[in-house]
């Protein structure tokens, strides 16, 4: 009896070890398997043009995902991105050459939008830390505050972007890829440097791993939290600029549905919702999984609405698989 139990335990331990070793690679394996499966069903998947299309579709979700990755790494969440995207896109359209007023601030306008994004993220952070309110509630409020103010400024109309520089993001190409893809890759590089080579990056992981420990070891966790939400706001504002460029205009619902895709991507990429695990490269893989899946479904003629259903199930599956059941005793 005892012997059988030992063997069983040994096997379970071996399985656990294998699982632990494989876990970091699972998202990449899923992505590869997905690509192979789609390519087998439809040969048109494997073409330079389709890859460029995938890169194009991935660029905005990637930038949004990068921002929220840092927040999730701390074990928090940020639901405000649709509000920031809408507000940023609307302000951008009103600052650069546009169809509604005489402004023509060009790059300066874009810069101002990034500052506005930072300010909205900062507001999230300061309310969250200062009033000690859970992040999902603060950012839920900011989501609607952003959309509301943006809409009020716009008065329900749609403003065209005429600035050639902004439009070029979505229209001009460099080495076969649109400018916005390069911009997204640049954002990825910045995010990676922040994560790997700055104190902020390390503190974020420390907080996600165990906030009380981080605090006891002298990290000013409140400050780090505010900085992280601010940084996330800048990423969302950048995504707002890209969205305005892609649509050629700004309108109230320009951010619609983006939160869902971004969170799916982050979670599917293997960044744990409890914090401390994952990173920006995981988010890259996660975004590609979501976008490739969508691309494959389009190629196979599946209704686009089914994609949303699949994304919802993906979130549940990915979180369920990543739950560390020992640590997650109390799930709220």
């Amino acid at each position: 009896m005892a012997e059988a139990a030992t063997i069983g335990d040994g096997r379970a331990a071996g399985w656990k070890k294998l699982r632990r070793r494989l876990a970091p690679w699972a998202p990449l394996l899923v992505l590869l398997a997905l690509c192979i499966a789609i390519a087998l069903v439809n040969g048109r998947f494997v073409s330079l043009r389709n890859f460029a299309r995938i890169a194009d579709a991935a660029s905005i979700p990637l930038v949004l995902g990068l921002g929220v990755t840092f927040v999730i790494l701390m074990g928090s969440i940020d639901l405000s991105m649709e509000g920031v995207v809408a507000f940023a896109a609307i302000i951008l359209c009103l600052l650069v050459a546009n169809g509604a007023n005489a402004n023509d601030f060009g790059l300066l306008g874009a810069l101002a939008v990034l500052v506005i994004g930072a300010a909205m993220g900062f507001a999230n952070g300061i309310v969250h830390v200062g009033l000690q309110i859970p992040s999902f509630m603060v950012t839920l409020g900011m989501w609607f505050v952003g959309i509301g103010i943006g809409n009020a400024i716009l008065g329900g109309i749609q403003v065209r972007v005429n600035d050639p520089l902004i439009r070029a993001l979505a229209l001009e190409q460099f080495l076969g890829l649109k400018f916005q893809v390069w911009l997204a890759l640049g954002a990825l590089a910045v995010a990676w440097v922040v994560q790997e080579h700055t104190r902020l990056g390390r503190y974020i992981f420390a907080i996600g791993g165990g906030e009380d420990l981080a605090r006891l070891s002298g990290i000013r966790t409140g400050l780090v939290r505010i900085a992280t939400f601010t940084m996330a706001g800048v990423f969302y504002a950048l995504a707002g600029i890209m969205a305005a460029a892609q649509q050629g205009s700004a309108f109230a619902l320009i951010g619609g549905g983006r939160l869902f895709t971004a969170i799916t991507a982050v979670v599917v990429g293997g960044t744990a919702l409890w914090g401390g695990q994952g990173g920006v490269l995981n988010t890259l893989i996660g975004v590609l999984i979501v976008v490739v899946l969508a691309n494959g479904m389009v190629l196979m003629g599946v209704s686009p609405y089914v994609q949303q259903i699949v994304q919802g199930l993906l979130i549940i599956a990915a979180v369920a698989l990543s739950v560390d059941r020992m640590r997650a005793k109390l799930v709220k």
Binding site: M142, G148, F260, G275, Q308, I309, A320
Partner: protein, 312 residues
């Protein structure tokens, strides 16, 4: 006066002050017709909020209600021709099923409620888009004959108000006179203790999710009757006001404290603020922002910080 009594009284005081304020600026606000109109405007919001109250009292959250309500409106619009009145219970059932799905994802798979319900909301929205082909489905002349129980009036009282009162009565009974109601308060107050006392925590969380889904389904059906159409985006603006109604009413997101009656007060506050802003010509979009800010302030006031040593 201790903090808890203050917390209990504040929503009602706020409501009274708001009504007096708005009435001072706009005397026509207090005539019976306006008040009844306001009450029927509150109905949908209250029904949505009533369901989610139980989830919040347990310490969770339900972000799927707007998509579930929209899905239910589509179900009503599609089923009213073949099924007649049966379409409405089916819509409620669809909502309860969506809630069950959230409950299973949350309890069995141990996924935090906000992400589980976000995901289920996405699924519900997808199903609604698919069923309705992303269109609004308008009810025809014949189908409109079936929605009289929502849009009509009896003894001068709009039926929506009566439905909301029935829901209020049901909610009160569930909260005070069923094991589920008591247990959900206990779980919200202290989950480990409730678990240790032998309460089946998972079961009650699942029931709460299903109740929330069913209420969202009913709200969707009411909306479909009211607007004489069903659409996959019908309830898209209702998530924030509904959650704000619960929190502004004094139910704490940390769980354990709260009641259906508080949600009624909260829903009335939201409606009064909205009507007040409309009277004062505040831009309709700014109103969303105001609700967002109200939500955050209400959370800050009602939250029990001793329960969350680390705020994430």
């Amino acid at each position: 006066m201790n903090r808890d009594t203050l917390r209990q009284l504040m929503p009602i005081v706020t409501l009274v002050v708001l009504v007096v304020l708005v009435a001072a600026f706009q005397p026509s606000f207090v005539n019976p017709a306006t008040l009844l109109g306001m009450a029927s405007d509150t109905a949908t919001l209250f029904v949505l909020g009533m369901g989610v109250t139980f989830v919040i009292m347990l310490g969770g959250i339900d972000l799927s209600i707007q998509s579930v309500a929209s899905l239910a409106s589509v179900a009503v619009a599609l089923l009213i021709t073949p099924l007649g009145y049966l379409a409405f219970p089916v819509a409620v059932l669809v909502g309860a099923l969506a809630g069950l799905l959230s409950g299973i994802a949350h309890v069995q798979l141990k996924i935090p409620s906000f992400i589980a319900t976000l995901a289920v909301g996405g699924v519900a929205a997808g199903v609604a888009l698919l069923l309705a082909d992303a269109q609004a489905i308008t009810l025809g002349e014949v189908e409109r004959g079936y929605v009289g129980w929502i849009t009509g009036t009896s003894l001068g009282i709009p039926h929506e108000v009566l439905i909301a009162l029935v829901v209020l009565a049901l909610g009160t009974v569930v909260q005070h006179y069923t094991a589920f109601g008591r247990y959900s308060q206990a779980i919200g107050a202290g989950e480990p203790a409730a678990h240790a006392a032998g309460i089946r925590v998972g079961l009650h969380k699942t029931i709460a999710c299903m109740l929330s889904g069913a209420a969202a389904g009913l709200a969707g059906a009411i909306l479909a009757g009211r607007l004489a159409s069903g659409s996959p985006t019908l309830a898209d603006q209702l998530l924030l006001p509904a959650i704000a109604a619960v929190i502004v009413g004094g139910t704490a997101i940390t769980g354990g404290v709260g009641s259906v009656w508080r949600t009624l007060v909260g829903a009335l506050i939201i409606t009064v603020v909205r009507s007040g802003m409309t009277f004062l010509n505040v831009d309709i979009f700014i109103q969303q922002s105001v609700f967002g800010a109200m939500l955050v302030i209400a959370v800050a006031l009602t939250i029990d910080r001793s329960k969350i040593p680390i705020v994430k």
